[in-house]
Symmetry: C2
Subunit: 258 residues, 2 copies
């Protein structure tokens, strides 16, 4: 039997934290055919709340050091404010959204990242995404809205990178659906020249990827994103696309293939 | 066919906001046989966060006026901090908990309370609890953990009294299960003399209720709680018990009957 289509979309904090861009995103998200999952960030709001509470945000390579006070902040912002507002706004659009952290229904089990040179605090690396449980919900026409939080099974929530959650979720759902994973960022795709929106690279495969890194076209935060994409493709995900939030119907952007 | 037993337990903020009492509650909750639902408060944490953010908490008759800033506070505290910590702690106890606001899966649809003498702001009165959706989840051995938030179907979250959520949830589940509703508060039951824990009134029915109000034994915040209880009983709930959090196995306390 042919598998049903399912789209996992990851959007960063910037898009979901401003009402106008959020509303536009959710309008587009509502029109996507087939089963779907939304994974969101929320870092800017977390930083803002932390500042208001006199808690310092410490970032290393764009990743947040998460002590106990900061864990409470991200639990409130990611799991509460951002997630539940998205859920309410999608319900208003006729989408049966359900907000989830990794602790809910144990969908994302993780472990606290071991202390090496850096003590990241309550940051989680994922052990298992429960695709079976997610598919059970999705088959009831429920649309999971996933906050970037996991748990360790010992009662602790853990702050976890949303790109990784999207990739692990997509992988875990690939036995059940024909999965497309879409990473949204600020540009319409991976570009040869960041100042020229006509320079989108339409396809990247393992061999062109190496060349694009070697010649400096791809660098910085894009590398872990594309690494996640290849990992997903090697683990059953059918298609990975990197594009802008207003193009999550998946026809534009950069397509990653093995 | 005989219906399965289901227990809806409502616990107030005080119990879930202190680690020691919360852990004890969750230990007991984990041992309850049959299907179950937990409804929680979180008012003290909301007030604390609001104070830290310079937002004034305004209460009338123990109920919170909820302007936009306060709605964000309760969304963070009820939907995020309190709810997700309970979920993670129950997962650690082998309970497949799922945190829900009323927006999640549209389980609690409400409307903003009309402005009369008081403008309560973003406070919701419940129109419908979706027992069918809840039962679908519960039949998968999922244990709903419900935050005191509903939504209006137009994209707005609404602050809603947890006692009422517990009663509406219990009523909505009564076509599917043999439902017991347990309200936890600071005393082991409704007492004739608040200073004498041996003065618990073991049973209250409609006629003794009137007498207990008339002679002043029952007053204040206990009246809406017992009104909720009778409403639940008239709408299919099998049993309502008012007791202390450490007695949620339902064998002690005050039993309300029609």
């Amino acid at each position: 039997m042919e598998k049903q289509r399912l789209t996992v979309i990851k959007v960063g904090g910037k898009i979901v934290e401003e009402q106008e861009t959020l509303n536009r995103l959710l309008d587009t998200f509502s029109t996507i055919q087939g089963k779907k999952v939304l994974v969101h960030g929320g870092g800017r709001s977390a930083t803002r709340l932390a500042t208001q509470l006199g808690i310092e945000s410490r970032m290393i390579e764009g990743r947040r050091i998460t002590d106990e006070a900061m864990l409470n902040v991200v639990t409130m912002v990611y799991g509460g404010l951002v997630n539940k507002n998205i859920v309410a706004k999608l319900q208003a659009r006729g989408i049966n959204a359900l907000g989830l952290t990794g602790a809910d229904c144990n969908v994302l089990h993780a472990h606290k990242r071991p202390v090496d040179k850096i003590d990241w605090g309550y940051v989680g690396d994922i052990d298992k995404a429960d695709g079976n449980m997610l598919a059970t919900l999705i088959d009831k026409d429920i649309v999971p809205i996933m906050a970037p939080l996991t748990h360790d099974g010992n009662g602790n929530l853990l702050n976890t990178n949303a790109d990784t959650i999207a990739a692990e979720t997509a992988k875990s759902l690939s036995p059940y659906y024909d999965v497309t994973l879409i990473y949204c960022f600020e540009h319409p795709g991976v570009m040869r020249n960041p100042d020229d929106s006509n320079s989108i690279i339409s396809d990247i495969n393992s061999s062109t990827y190496k060349e694009l890194i070697a010649d400096g076209t791809i660098s910085g935060g894009m590398i872990p994103k594309i690494d996640n994409a290849f990992d997903a493709l090697r683990n059953g995900v059918g298609k990975v696309i990197i594009t802008k939030a207003d193009a999550i119907d998946g026809v534009k952007g950069t397509r990653i293939a093995l």
